[in-house]
Amino acid sequence: MRSFLKNIGTSVLAATLAAGGLLAATGASAQQRPIRIGAFTATTGGASFLGDPQEKTLRLYVDKINKAGGVLGRKLELFIYDSAGDARQAVTYTRRLIEDNEVDIIIGGSATGESMAVIPIVEEAQIPFISLSGGNVVVEPVRKWVFKTPGSDRMAVSKIYTDMKARGFSKAAVISGDGGFDKSCQKEAVTVAKTMGIAIVADEVYAQADTDMTPQFTRIAGAKPDAIVGCGFGLGGVITVRNHRQITPQIPLYFTHGVGSQQFVEGARGAAENVRITVSPLLVAEQLDDSDPQKKTLLEYTKEYQEKFGEKPAAFGGFSYDALHIALAAMQRAGGTDKAKVRDEIERTKNFIGIDGIFNMSPTDHMGLDFNTAFRLTEIKNNGWHLVK
């Protein structure tokens, strides 16, 4: 039994190393042990639209940083697994990362559920974990070892309602899928509306795999909202805007960052025109003022991602960019990979200029984004992203 398990262990390790293109890095044997970055993302399954760019971004930057000599004179070694957005698999892979791969930090959890599932494990193992999921519950209440980089749905929704009020709208309809990503946004959309004086006149749900949402939009049309808030991502997001164009083109449509990718606009084939989306500044980087501190980082990330993968990065890719760089910066400040020190340094992250915004973490805030930089309001015009000023 033992040799059997050992075989599994070694063959898997070999495969992982080979896939990560890291065998080349082992040449520098005189050096210290590489810094081990552990990650799990939902590259397949329902949340694959979130996980795929996150995985690509991590691979891209681990490679790039290694080419530039690594961190603290040590190479990076990436262990990354596909959780398929499934809590059970996330738990197993997290144990694997901690116990078998002996990683120094864990980045991952494209979906809120899988992030929540691994929290007891990382807390018990006392290893820093930077989540890539949107739900506030991940960092509220603050847990010692858990951080996250995506701006929260509450911020996104607040931004939408602020714009709606500026346009004189007071009645909103919400349409969302039944996945965790959508649900989290929908919950905030309903809760925040109360505090901001917006009336929710319709709250419609569709199944994530649904191919047609016209009944939902017909009901929304009957409720006569001033505007519609879409909480969705991936295919569901595209079908939502297409059905919106079909049934209720006269009602303005807002969306949160779930549709923050150029593929969304292309898939919508014109139906995304005039839709307003709160999204990280990534998709409108060129339009930012030159004085904007994020502009340089955003343009660089866009360029590097596009060169490597032949497509523009989606907003979610930025989450893992931020997580990786915050972690590495913390290790640099800590002067090593001591987990407790790295954790303390992550918590001390100040003025970190990332893709999703500018991070200022604290013992009471393990996300560290502020309302103004986290999300920008954009509008789709001529199949392109435009900053609404």
Binding site: T43, T44, G45, S48, F49, D52, D178, E204, V205, Y206, A207, Q208, A209, D210, T211, D212, T214, P215, Q216, T218, R219, G222, G234, L235, V238, I239, R242, R245, Q246, I247, Q263, G267, R269, G270, A271, E311
Partner: protein
């Protein structure tokens, strides 16, 4: 009234999609008493292969035809190289082979086309069609047309062609079919090709509406399978009617009652059917011979 019409149109569009997916289940169940869990992947291949051929620069008609032919070939290969290879396999073994085949096709699409979704323009423009105040996507008409075409085609195939009659004979009694000289292995290949082609045709016409993605097949297959069950599992026409029933029920339940449990409608119908009409709408009651 406009709402009613809108739900009706939604139901017909959905129903046609489910029907197009369901027909393949019925055809294969009829010929080999197996549930083909790769059926959804044939639909996905229809859309994906069309996208692939379009990017090669082929005109839409050729790309679509190429996708259907490609799917039919994959269907034949699946039968020949996998299912026929498992000698004396039980029905469950065949089911697991189709599950494996579905994963392979999904994996192949993932390798070739990546993990993004894909689509291509609707065949007759993107502007919604106005019908007495209700609006439908023009592509829905193409989906319905494909369903009608498949219905007529299947009818013609079973009623008029020698091959279709041979398929019927094989279904009624495989042993007797062998005795009267029907090449049963060939019939099975034909059934797999046919259901793959019909699934792919569905994929071709629905992709402008549903878009396509390497993992799209699984949820579609589940709905298509439900359509086939409602139709009695052995009847291609039953699957088409079953699909329309599911689609309309979903649209009206979602529209008039609440969309929250819209997804469950298909399954509630199945349970109701098992209680009240277990052989399905068009299924034959199994005749027990001792």
């Amino acid at each position: 009234m406009v709402d009613f019409l809108q739900f009706l149109l939604s139901g017909i569009t959905r129903g046609s999609i489910y029907g197009l997916v369901g027909v393949g289940f019925a055809l294969i169940f009829r010929s080999s008493h197996a549930i083909n869990f790769a059926q959804g992947e044939f639909v996905m291949i229809g859309g994906m292969a069309t996208v692939f051929f379009l990017t090669l620069g082929l005109p839409l008609v050729l790309a679509a035809a190429g996708a259907v032919v490609a799917a039919a070939l994959i269907g034949a290969l699946l039968q020949r190289l996998a299912i026929a290879q498992a000698k004396n396999a039980s029905v469950l073994t065949i089911i697991i082979i189709t599950i494996g085949a579905g994963m392979m096709l999904r994996g192949a699409a993932e390798i070739v086309m990546g993990r993004n979704f894909h689509s291509y323009p609707a065949f007759s423009g993107e502007l919604p069609v106005d019908l007495l105040g209700a609006k439908m996507q023009s592509q829905s008409l193409w989906v319905v047309a494909a369903l009608v075409l498949v219905t007529i085609g299947i009818h013609f195939f079973f009623a008029r062609t020698r091959l279709g009659k041979a398929v019927e004979a094989t279904f009624s009694n495989r042993f007797a079919a062998t005795v009267i000289g029907i090449n049963v292995p060939r019939i099975l290949i034909v059934c797999f090709m046919l259901s793959a082609a019909i699934g792919a045709l569905g994929g071709v016409v629905m992709t402008p509406i549903t878009l396509t993605h390497f993992e799209l097949g699984v949820p579609l297959a589940l709905k298509g399978f439900c359509a086939a069950i409602v139709g009695g599992l052995t009847s291609p026409f039953g699957a088409i009617i079953g699909g329309l029933i599911l689609g309309l029920s979903e649209a009206f339940a979602g529209g008039y009652i609440s969309p929250t449990y819209q997804e469950a409608v298909a399954f509630v119908i199945i349970i109701a059917m098992l209680i009240f009409r277990p052989q399905g709408l068009f299924g034959r009651r199994a005749v027990e011979r001792v």
